[in-house]
């Protein structure tokens, strides 16, 4: 514990201020109208904490040295971070977040790696016979959690970027559990060794094991579940940062880390809830699979609609709702979708988009996607409001969406998605579904909507179909 000096006190005051700004920032971030300001507030708190640390931090009377190097590192990091964030495509945001999260984890792990030898010498000087102390726990946990978070985030990034696929094998689950147990045992063993044993290989091995665990932890989880995993790893990194807070008795690191740790955990759970799943279910990687009503499909017939019929139907409607889904994003057909919208609007048709909160593969996916294609915000209608208007809608055009319009969520209690709110396409007068085949979506369950009398399928890749449809309408 440092003693009172004016510098120390100012520094603590700035940390207190930063902590408060983090809290208020998080609060504001969770309301649509204040979210952007909240982000700025948190950034302000961070800037203050960094600045005051450089100016006023003291350790045993010595203030911060190597300032040119520190500033250089800050400049390089800022430039790279800024550049990457500005250049990244909107739809690749989750990958980016995952990378940044990994950087934080790696930073926490590096700090632990460097502080471990310091602690060793300190304890050896004090004549301790083992390392079983508070700081050692903080260092080792920080190293472990930071490494897991780093490795896991990198895998999540690679999966989201489509560079590696899922490796699902029951054995991985056992490997996983074994590694976790080994890690925890190793943690205890390291704390029991004598402080200055000369070589540091146990801690390097420990770090390596943690990295491997991070890989095997994320590997079997489905690529589509990565947003949830990133949120979870995000809260891990928070805890790792809090460990640093313990170590340095640093209020800002402690509060910042703990806040992210707890709110991140809740956020992860909220994300799962929005998809009607449990966190365990996501991690073990098993969605319901075939539901009870799967067999029924065989008997039913599906009606198709031709491009020209679709064009006529749409052109002579009064009100059309577009329901975008994951397929629209995959096909990158958002601009064509907007073209279709413009074309119809010119003909006097009222066109709106019904946005399901978990359509796509990350929360807000559809908002981001359509914003990229310059669709005006007023046209994006939230699920509940859209459902209220379905009754007087002439045509609902479902583009690459599946689960979010599956009526099983409402009428089949055996379905794994039962209870999830859906967009009630069935309430509209006509339905057109654009997708490539009868294949299932993310939840891997059949969709009875496709067999409904009101429904017509328009098979094909969303981009190709929309292209032809737009041409057809133009030539009417």
């Amino acid at each position: 514990m440092e003693t009172f000096t004016i510098q120390n006190s100012i520094l603590e005051l700035s940390y207190l201020g930063a902590s408060v700004l983090f809290i208020l920032g998080l609060k504001k971030l969770s309301h649509p109208t204040t979210a952007r300001a909240g982000n700025l507030w948190a950034a302000g708190g961070m800037t203050a904490a960094i600045l005051f640390t450089i100016l006023f931090h003291e350790k045993e009377g010595a203030s911060i040295g190597n300032i040119p190097w520190i500033l250089a590192a800050l400049a390089i990091g800022s430039f790279l971070g800024w550049y990457a964030s500005v250049k990244v495509k909107m739809t690749a945001m989750p990958q980016m977040v995952s990378i940044f999260n990994g950087m934080g984890g790696a930073c926490a792990a590096l700090i632990s790696l460097m502080e471990f030898p310091h602690l060793q010498t300190e304890l050896a000087l004090a004549g301790d016979s083992h390392m079983f102390t508070g700081p050692a726990v903080a260092i080792l946990l920080g190293l472990m959690i930071g490494s897991v978070s780093f490795a896991g985030s990198m895998i999540a990034f690679l999966k989201l970027d489509g560079r590696i696929g899922d490796i699902k094998h029951p054995i991985l689950r056992i490997v996983n559990l074994t590694f976790l147990v080994v890690l925890l045992i190793a943690l205890v063993i390291i704390m029991l060794i004598q402080p200055v044993s000369g070589n540091n290989w146990p801690i390097y091995l420990f770090a390596l094991a943690a990295l491997i665990y991070g890989v095997t932890f994320v590997m079997p989880i489905g690529g589509a579940d990565m947003p949830v995993v990133i949120s979870l790893l995000n809260s891990f990194t928070g805890v790792a940062a809090a460990m640093g807070g313990f170590l340095y008795d640093n209020q800002a690191m402690l509060t910042g880390g703990i806040l992210v740790g707890s709110s991140g955990t809740i956020l992860t759970i909220l994300m799962c809830n929005a998809m009607n799943r449990s966190l365990l279910n996501v991690i073990i990687g098993a969605f319901g699979g075939a539901s009870g009503s799967g067999a029924e499909a065989a008997d039913k017939t599906v009606k198709e609609i031709s491009l020209s019929d679709s064009a006529v139907l749409l052109s002579y409607s009064q009100k059309v709702y577009i329901v975008p889904g994951y397929g629209l994003a995959v096909a990158q057909a958002q601009h064509l979708c907007h073209d279709l919208d413009n074309l119809l609007t010119d003909k006097g048709v009222e066109v709106k988009y019904a946005i399901h909160p978990v359509a796509g593969r990350m929360p807000g996916h559809m908002n981001v996607l359509l914003a990229e294609a310059d669709v005006p915000y007023e046209k994006l209608v939230e699920m509940e409001d859209a459902n209220n208007e379905m009754g007087n809608t002439d045509v609902v055009v479902v583009i690459g969406a599946n689960d979010v319009v599956n009526p099983a969520a409402e009428d089949d209690p055996t379905s794994p998605i039962y209870g999830m709110p859906i967009i009630k396409a069935l309430d509209a007068r006509n339905i057109i579904v654009i997708k490539r085949s009868m294949a299932a979506g993310y939840a891997a369950i059949p969709n009875n909507l496709f067999y409904h009398a009101k429904n017509r399928m328009l098979f094909g890749d969303a981009k190709a179909v929309l292209q032809k449809l737009v041409a057809e309408i133009k030539s009417l």
């Binding site: 969770s30 960094i50 350790k59 934080g104 460097m114 940062a241 809090a242 509060t255 992210v260």
Partner: protein, 101 residues
């Protein structure tokens, strides 16, 4: 038992602060609408970049070249986390700017 009580006694204020912070973290975001999940995740991701302070402290008191280099790396990584996190969040939120709830 005495050990635990002693530990609790020595750190009681800290423990209390942690409990309050955990609870506050939960309370503060528990009414977030689904559409803000991604920006919130990204914003809180930037906040844990506060670990950079640890990296600065290590670097500021580095004695060997090795720890200077490792510290340099750590500071860069931490800054990436902080700056990238906040900028990316801001960009995302720009998308929602006209949405009112």
């Amino acid at each position: 038992m005495t050990g635990i009580l002693q530990f609790f006694w020595d750190n009681k204020d800290l423990i209390f602060i942690i409990i309050l912070s955990v609870y506050l973290g939960i309370e503060v975001i528990s009414h977030v609408p689904a559409v803000l999940h991604t920006p919130l995740m990204s914003g809180s991701n930037a906040i844990h970049g506060v670990v950079i302070i640890g990296a600065i402290i290590v670097m500021g008191h580095a004695e060997s070249t090795l720890s200077l280099i490792l510290g340099f790396l750590a500071v860069i990584l931490g800054t990436l986390n902080v700056v990238g996190g906040f900028v990316v969040t801001d960009r995302m939120l720009e998308m929602f700017k006209k949405k009112k709830k």
